[in-house]
Amino acid sequence: MSEESFGPPEMMAVALARLLRNGETVFHGVASPLPMVATLLAKRLHAPDLVYLSIAGGVDASPSRLPASTVDPVLLEGARATVTLAELFDLSARGRLDVAFLSGVQIDGRGRVNMSAIGPFARPTVRLPGGAGSALLMPTAKRVLLWRAKHDPRVFVDELDFVTAAGNVERVVTPLCVFRRAEDRLVVETIHPGVSPDVVRVETGFPVEVGSKTPVTAPPTPEELAVLEELDPGRVRASEF
């Protein structure tokens, strides 16, 4: 892929990276390839003093390769220190974690997530993996960034089958757009380049205001793409698509 071209994995990784600020403590858990890529990207671009924390236990790891599993021991490589998952939850619980990356199989218009079950909780139609740390992290981390590599009405629903977690969601990044939470509702902040407002409206199961005046997400810059390619030559960023 040339540095000038980009697709949803690049757009999402860059959009997520831009949301991170220098000096913040940033955490991701299991099954989080895009957050892993985005955090390491932000550290190489505008946030060198960001503190990168992950379930793998490394503090500021600089892995020699990016793994598909985001619990992989390679995420300890180059770490300055190690911490346990319990310590990371505690950090958030006492209000000292700046950013938590989380996702949802279903996400509603208030930014709440379902990772538990489709259908009744006790005897579901589809048993989902569970929310991992979400129900602790979402109410306690200062900023929660949701991401999901799929944007359709089965993901972005008007009503969740089950509320696994709810809390301090600030933005949601998808292959189509960036949502921002205003009051208690997700609103479309920017649409990614080349995406039509109609597609966002149709693919979102809750009501959204989106149109020709909706700002367009700034496309990845050549520098962003170059650093991303250098960081992630194996395109782990695309593994969720």
């Binding site: 299991v30 379930i55 619990v71 021991p73 300890l76 319990a86 619980a93 006492r94 579901p124 048993r127």
Partner: protein, 271 residues
């Protein structure tokens, strides 16, 4: 020094049906898979599995009919291999109860058991249906602050942990991330350690789990496979792919278990 080294068959044989069993590691990493295979071979029933985030270990024990409940925050293979098919099927058909936790509430429950108290307060959970679905109580702060969720103690009957190195008295070294293994060793009534190698002495500063917490030590090279063991081997993507494909149907899972687990020599199939 008390010599606690034994065989996998004996160590696992001491676990009764219906036990609450904590499994070390996390998702695709350092799960005690050899011990899990032995549980399958011995045909244990009614286990309540405890883990923050499980994958192959939990999925296989659901497929083999060994587990009747899973207390975990997450069960799945992460991005590379997706959902856990046998766990899903077990919950959806009612043979396995999903005692869904927050990963942090598994930790809280283990902490309560480790500290000898009946429950542990846990921050967060506001707005989550898990409180009601799991019957987690909220309790008042006796000092006038806001109420907080109380997670009941989780005292596993046994913790089964795979480590890189142990000595015969149970002092265990863990390279790479320790996950919840140390806490599980503190919270559990019995502790089984399987180790890549059993040595005369583990470097004291590197000991993660002191031997006096450990009841049985078993040397099992490759004991985490098909999951990874940091510094020793990566996860076995082929085996995990083969299992998750097979496990999509009960028949496929059964055939896989018969061919790849029960047929392994050296240990009787049991009950």
């Amino acid at each position: 020094m008390i010599d606690k080294q034994t065989t996998l068959a004996e160590a696992i044989g001491a676990i009764p049906d219906g036990a609450t069993a904590a499994l070390g590691g996390n998702t695709l990493h350092r799960a005690p898979c050899a011990a899990v295979h032995e549980i399958v071979r011995q045909g244990k029933r009614g286990l309540n599995l405890v883990k923050t985030a499980g994958a192959y270990d939990v999925d296989l024990l659901c497929a083999a009919g060994c587990a009747s409940a899973v207390s975990a925050g997450f069960v799945g293979y992460e991005t590379p291999f997706g959902l856990a098919p046998a766990y899903r099927r077990g919950v959806e058909t009612g043979t396995v109860e999903a005692r869904e936790h927050v990963c942090a509430s598994v930790i809280a429950g283990l902490r309560a058991a480790s500290q000898g108290v009946p429950f542990m307060p846990l921050a967060g959970m506001d707005g989550s249906d898990l409180q009601a679905a799991r019957g987690f109580a909220r309790i008042a702060d006796p000092y006038g602050g806001p109420s907080v969720v109380a997670i009941p103690a989780i005292a596993p009957d046994v913790a089964i942990l795979h480590v890189q190195q142990a000595d015969r008295s149970g002092n265990a070294r863990i390279d790479g991330t320790r996950f919840e293994d140390v806490l599980m060793a503190q919270a559990a009534r019995r502790v089984i350690v399987t180790a890549e190698e059993v040595v005369d002495a583990v470097e004291p500063a590197a000991v993660a789990i002191p031997g006096f917490l450990v009841n049985a030590v078993v040397e099992v090279p490759g004991g985490a496979s098909p999951c990874s063991c940091a510094g020793v081997y990566a996860y076995d993507a082929e085996a995990l792919k083969a299992w998750t494909a097979a496990a999509r149907t009960p028949e496929g899972a059964r055939a896989y278990i018969e061919d790849r687990i029960l047929a392994v020599a050296g240990v009787g199939v049991g009950a």
